[in-house]
């Protein structure tokens, strides 16, 4: 009896000692599938590092962005690791809000895809480690293309896309040639439209930070988009975002869909998608001007500068973005579920190539995007489908509202563009540009 009690006491004393030493990392992250998986597999990390405990704050993208931005800007100190995107990193790093990341040699930082690494670095210093990366490309229905006697080239032009979309459309049977984003928002329709406009040779600002919506390139791009959607798009397109289009595509309502490369694994998953067997992929279209209409994004892990637990946080980030983590996911859930788009080695791995038929095109799409030189002409900003300045979220959303009005048929293309020009000029003036 006494021995038992003694054992129990030492036991609890030891637990107390252990918990006293343990550091708790609070990790803020997005509720996307890959992060949920990381949360599930984090047991493997805490086993290796019994002195570190993890606490998760998982939120939808918009709420997460509000919360981490408010926190880091006011130095609230609620999080030790934040999940942020390629939009935030250059801005935050410029404010010295992020801890520079240097990893041990076995992390193999040179293995990171150059485009992604460039997007997360400022002056060659890495400020956030990519957890998964994505570009955008064309997903299409092979069966519908075959029926229509069309063949999708690996690198289509916009003209071909337009023609094919109109040919496939069969509104009576609820088959729409193309589904594209239309819901207003800087991360919604403007992500797609900015990237598309790049391939038309348009740009957000010239080198003097003057908005460019009054230029013919924007008019061409927007007119093409509106005409295409009117002829071959689904009803209600002006409120469709990524998820609405995903649902449409998975239920067989879309002939083509140009969106994030991560969608490839959803649309080709037979548990969710009714068209899983018929999906093909192609690079985002171009206009023969040397740029394709695809974007670049990487959800990445970063450490806020005020954190007291920098070392533990670095250890976790190194684990979550390592090659070993990819292998762990492959072992537990199969290669198809490994977070994509961050490391060259993954794309050289034959097991991955086999499990993910879209791997090669994803890689090519990512390589085709260059955040420092997004469009045909020179620009003063960084970012493909966004402009990495603090004012962009608001401006992008307001411009997105104008373009969604044009899509809904409530404004003409010219009206939408001149409104966009006026409001962007106004906001830039308010923000004190050119700087």
């Amino acid at each position: 009896m006494r021995a038992k009690l003694l054992a129990l006491m030492t036991c609890s004393a030891m637990t107390i000692a252990a918990t006293a030493q343990a550091e708790t990392l609070t990790i803020a992250t997005v509720n996307n599938g890959d992060m949920i998986r990381m949360q599930k597999l984090a047991g493997a990390f805490t086993e290796q590092h019994p002195d570190i405990e993890l606490e998760w704050v998982t939120l939808e993208e918009n709420v997460l962005r509000q919360r981490v931005t408010t926190d880091i800007a006011t130095k609230g100190g609620q999080y030790d690791i934040m999940t942020i995107g390629t939009y935030e990193v250059p801005i935050w790093a410029g404010q010295e809000w992020l801890v520079p990341l240097d990893f041990e040699a076995d992390y193999d930082v040179d293995d990171l895809l150059p485009a992604i690494r460039a997007g997360l670095s400022v002056d060659e210093t890495l400020y956030a480690a990519p957890f998964y990366g994505e570009s955008s490309f064309v997903m299409y229905r092979k069966d519908l293309f075959e029926e229509a006697g069309l063949e999708m080239p690996e690198a289509p032009t916009w003209d071909f896309i337009g023609e094919a979309a109109r040919k496939i459309t069969d509104k009576d049977n609820e088959v729409y040639g193309i589904c594209l984003r239309g819901k207003a928002g800087w991360g919604e329709n403007m992500a797609f439209l900015s990237a598309m406009a790049n391939s038309f040779g348009a740009r957000w600002f010239d080198m003097e930070w003057k908005p460019q919506f009054d230029q013919p390139e924007w008019k061409d791009a927007l007119q093409f988009y509106i005409d295409l959607m009117n002829d071959a798009g689904p009803p209600g397109a002006s409120s469709n975002g990524f998820n609405e289009n995903l649902a449409l595509f998975q239920t067989g309502k879309c002939g083509m869909w140009i969106d994030a490369t991560v969608a490839a694994s959803f649309v080709s998953n037979p548990d969710e998608s009714q068209v899983a067997d018929d999906v093909g992929f192609a690079l985002a279209p171009d206009k023969g001007l040397g740029k394709r209409g695809n974007w670049l994004w990487a959800w990445s892990l970063a450490i806020p500068a005020g954190s007291q637990k920098t070392e533990a946080a670095k250890t976790f980030i190194a684990w979550a973005t390592s090659k070993a983590y990819s292998e762990l996911v492959a072992e537990e859930e199969g290669w198809a579920n490994v977070p994509p788009g961050t490391r060259t080695s993954l794309y050289e791995n034959p097991s991955y190539q086999e499990a993910a038929p879209f791997a090669e095109l994803t890689l090519k799409s990512i390589q085709a995007a260059d955040p420092t030189s997004p469009t045909v002409e020179e620009v003063p900003y960084v970012g493909v489908q966004f402009v990495a300045i603090p004012e962009f979220q608001g401006i992008g959303t307001a411009v997105g509202q104008q373009f969604s009005a044009a899509l809904a048929g409530q404004a003409s293309v010219d009206q939408a563009l001149s409104n966009a020009q006026a409001l962007t000029e106004r906001e830039m003036q308010k923000a004190g540009y050119p700087k």
């Binding site: 949920i36 606490e55 939808e60 408010t70 998820n243």
Partner: protein, 276 residues
């Protein structure tokens, strides 16, 4: 017997009543049904009503992914705490307004209500800074305080209107008997106002439970209530209808059950002095 209703009229009203009730309830019913579907079935067209493969996988997934009980307890503590604290502050104030009114009483009341009109999102940064300095970020105490303040005007107003219906003579009689003010309020007024207090309590618990701005923006891991639980299931990349429905069902269920069971109490005191 003017109030006697013929069976036919009764049947007609039964039909209309059920139809309207069903229509209003339908979105919730649909959410609950969807929570038992697989993600693929949830977006199927034509929609499937009852004859689909029922599954509990979403509930299992939701439970393995997040700590429902923690969020639930936070919601309970915060909404109950803020309401009780609000009542403690509001009962004396409402007493004063109802039984010792001055010319300015109505102005004070309207001013209190007007504090609710400042859009929360406009004062987020000031509050966030204050909370950071006071160490109240991500604490139940901080959130309880915020929700108390947010709902206090409504609590004062509801109680005031209810108290006004209580005849002042009774209180005066108690005072004549030598009861102190505290005793007067605790032993005489409060028992008489139980229906009003009960419905104030219930209404404010509901309002606090559903408050989704402060509860989302001032918490992180420790004090996050069910609104944050929902936010971790809405709009990820990929299909989420079934899982969101399951999470919503879990988040709504406790308050819905509370509301249903206490319906009578809720209604009885919900007069805002509207009944004379």
């Amino acid at each position: 017997m003017a109030r006697a209703v013929s069976t036919r009229t009764r049947l007609v009203f039964t039909l209309i009543g059920w139809l309207v009730g069903f229509l209003i309830f339908f979105p919730i019913l649909w959410t609950v049904l969807t929570s038992f579907k697989s993600e693929g079935t949830a977006i199927a067209t034509p929609p499937q009503f009852l004859f689909f493969q029922w599954t509990a996988e979403n509930y299992i997934e939701v439970n393995s992914r997040s700590d429902y009980l923690k969020h639930f307890m936070n919601s309970v503590v915060i909404s109950l705490g803020s309401t009780l604290l609000g009542l403690v502050i509001a009962i004396p104030a409402a007493w004063a307004m109802a039984f010792a009114p001055t010319k300015r009483t109505k102005d004070v009341l309207l001013w209190m209500l007007s504090t609710k009109m400042l859009p929360a999102v406009g004062v987020l940064v000031p509050i966030y800074l204050l909370f950071r300095d006071a160490g109240l970020l991500d604490t139940r105490i901080g959130l309880t305080f915020v929700l108390t303040m947010a709902n206090l005007p409504i609590i004062v107003w509801m109680l005031y209107t209810y108290f006004r219906e209580i005849p002042g003579d009774i209180l005066e009689a108690a005072r004549m008997d030598g009861a102190s003010l505290a005793k007067e309020i605790i032993y005489v007024l409060t028992p008489m106002a139980v229906p009003g207090i009960a419905s104030t309590l219930l209404l404010n618990i509901i309002l606090a439970w559903n408050e989704a701005f402060w509860t989302l923006n001032l918490t992180a891991a420790k004090a996050a209530p069910l609104t944050a639980f929902i936010a971790s299931y809405s709009s990820p990349e990929g299909l989420f209808w079934a899982k969101l429905s399951a999470a919503s069902t879990l988040a709504i269920a406790p308050i819905l059950i509370l509301g249903w069971f206490s319906q009578r109490q809720l209604v009885r005191g919900l007069t805002f002095g509207a009944v004379k």
